[in-house]
Symmetry: C2
Subunit: 201 residues, 2 copies
């Protein structure tokens, strides 16, 4: 019973996602966002609240689309080792895809923040810690199943693979290609503890 929106909210959100993905939260201005989305500030604020809430919605969308491969790999693979190997392999492809900005939004979009947006920095930091904890849970599964030696430092392994993934994101943003990141992934997997399947222990 009133005038309807003249733009596609979903398309506009995806455009905002890619803009934030490229330059980060603080470095992306409302002017740049509205120019990219093809709308004017009042339309943005009416549809998305404010810059902070738009970014939070962008992060949610990212986790359910471009970043969903992590959760899929961790839930679908039978062992922790296979799960982490797949995460690394798919990250290599995703972080270097030509279809969208390089690297990972959760890792790189809120690194340089002033005091005004410290909470945004903390939000992404929380998601990174959550992802690291998810890695650890699958490694713990392998430890419980006896696939890796008893007494293995599973938290240390999770921190290592989290660091490798974050390094892959930085490398991708610095220009490394798909093959470069696959080599990183393969070398990282060579750090996996020798276990039952490999004929030791």
């Amino acid at each position: 019973m009133a005038r309807q929106r003249a733009f596609d909210r979903d398309v506009a959100l995806e455009t905002a996602l890619r803009t934030f993905w490229r330059h980060g939260y603080e470095a992306t201005s409302i002017a740049e966002l509205t120019a990219a989305m093809g709308i004017r500030p009042p339309s943005l604020y009416a549809a998305f609240g404010d810059k902070r809430r738009l970014f939070e919605e962008v992060v949610g969308r990212y986790q359910q689309t471009h970043g969903a491969f992590t959760t899929r790999a961790l839930t679908e693979e039978p062992t922790g080792r296979q799960a982490i190997e797949r995460v690394l392999r798919e990250a290599a492809a995703e972080y270097t895809s030509e279809e969208h900005p390089r690297g990972c939004l959760i890792i790189s979009a809120a690194v340089n923040c002033g005091p005004a947006s410290a909470e945004v920095e903390e939000l992404l930091r929380g998601f990174r810690e959550e992802a690291k904890a998810a890695l650890k849970r699958r490694i713990d599964d392998d430890a419980a199943a006896g696939l890796i030696p008893a007494g293995t430092d599973t938290a240390g392994l999770a921190t290592f693979y989290a660091a490798v993934i974050q390094g892959m994101s930085t490398q991708a943003r610095d220009g490394a290609g798909h093959a470069d990141l696959l080599r990183i992934a393969a070398l990282a997997m060579s750090a996996w503890p020798v276990g039952r399947r490999e004929g030791v222990g």
Copy 2:
């Protein structure tokens, strides 16, 4: 034959270094810098030119002080393996030190930049690529000396260790401690190719 500066330029530069180190290039305002340095804008501009040149001087100072351990390790150790192992071990200590902001300034101070400071982003990117090339040169030394198998992908190894170091910086900024980073370093070294010294090949 004229009035002399009322503040210590070197102390002020170190203060600016730590401020940029914590929040990054764009997120650090002139107001925040002058407040931290205890001077007023005209003094800053007279002594350092402008924000861009101040940052470039900060980066140079960082490379010769807090970041100098990398070059030292790479030049002083007899083998590439020992050099890289030492870089990782010292990075673990440096990135988590309580004496200054966490992580690496070259890696984290210009990640989220708008179009206006794309050149600053590119400057640090160049230094990161230079560091990666320095890693590769030492790995090539080991290859030439027959310490690692013939045909080893030395560029791939260099990219791997560069990624690990960048991941260590991110982990440190997210709260990981010295021991956590040492574990990352140890696991990363387990990816080093098996060579003559290890009794294979």
